[in-house]
Symmetry: C2
């Protein structure tokens, strides 16, 4: 899918400006209406990009949403570096809690998760976004291994999944809401499991801390 618009990734130029206008309008409308109500017509109206251009470049509302979600991989994001694994995971989780709960901010990320249930291409775009986000988060665990906080060979992505999984579980499965305190508990849980060697292929099966 990336090839579909990677040719338009040059920052400037008319093509680049058109793409940004169309995809930013798509994100606005996704946050405002959700995927089910999003139409190419509405994106044309909001962006000022002609409908025929939108259809030619992105085929459909689904194509626009998929391309718009993938724009996230072009945004700058660096993993926090607080000096401890627990601190870094807490920062990541606090950012998630804010992003998915703050009124006026939560609408778009929530609509993105929701769109993936209705659109295979949105789901694939979400998957690609998180592949990129996982890769950018890896230094958190690599630095912790370098400091001797966790065993060498600890799988960075597994640590991230355990750290943020409970946040998303509360938000979108058990629907019980999430607070900064929950972000802290989940970060401490992932760090403790990592220190216990759960995420190393070798020791994962047996390592466990004293009760």
């Amino acid at each position: 899918m990336a090839s579909e618009f990677s040719g338009t990734r040059r920052p400037g130029g008319r093509t680049g400006r058109t793409r940004l206008a169309a995809l930013n309008a798509t994100l606005e409308l996704l946050g405002e209406r959700g995927y089910a109500e999003l139409t190419v017509e509405a994106v044309a109206e909001r962006s000022g990009v002609h409908k025929t251009t939108l259809y030619r470049r992105w085929e459909s509302a689904e194509g626009l949403v998929a391309a718009a979600l993938l724009m996230g991989t072009e945004q700058p994001w660096e993993a926090p570096d607080t000096g401890s694994l627990e601190g870094d995971l807490r920062e990541v989780n606090l950012e998630l809690v804010h992003y998915f709960t703050a009124p006026g901010e939560r609408e778009l990320p929530t609509a993105s998760i929701s769109a993936a249930f209705l659109s295979p291409r949105a789901a694939e775009a979400l998957r690609e976004f998180y592949v990129d986000r996982h890769a950018r988060s890896a230094p958190i665990v690599e630095r912790a291994a370098g400091r001797g906080e966790v065993p060498l060979g600890t799988d960075p992505v597994e640590v991230v999944r355990v750290a943020c999984g409970p946040i998303f579980y509360r938000l979108f499965v058990s629907r019980e809401g999430v607070t900064p305190q929950d972000a802290d508990v989940a970060a401490r849980a992932a760090a403790a499991a990592a220190k216990a060697g759960v995420f190393t292929a070798k020791t994962g099966g047996t390592a466990s801390p004293p009760a």
Copy 2:
């Protein structure tokens, strides 16, 4: 919301049979079409319950879906008892992985999670379902505390959230799919964190296993 149909919970009787027919048809259609395509007319047709009865008892398709999702709290489910915290959490996670990935089975639970994005009443029903499921899972951790596997005062629900959070994260956020192996890693992570004292109000702040 429970009061809305708790009066119809008597197992037998015409009222009970009508309710079961309507809500089971609702679940069938939810799995087949998803929430957005579900109509009272379709439920009437599928269940043989007259439309006016459906509207009188459940008001709308949303009311039917909320009531149908809450039926889950009436189903028998007991937490596994394998003799170890890790074993019990693994069983719970393996059940989840099967339920949310097996073709012909995953459709309904997936549509239930998805419906909650579109319907506040479905979200509330999902929340009530998981409150019940959390309560039924608590013995896993209480038995582990009794065996001395985890500190007394370990929060059972926090353990469950950390155990199954990564499963749902893979399924519905990072969209990378989930395997029995992933169920095992997440179960070991939650057990290790619990043993490290992360989920006890008292020691949570400081306890961590040796790296």
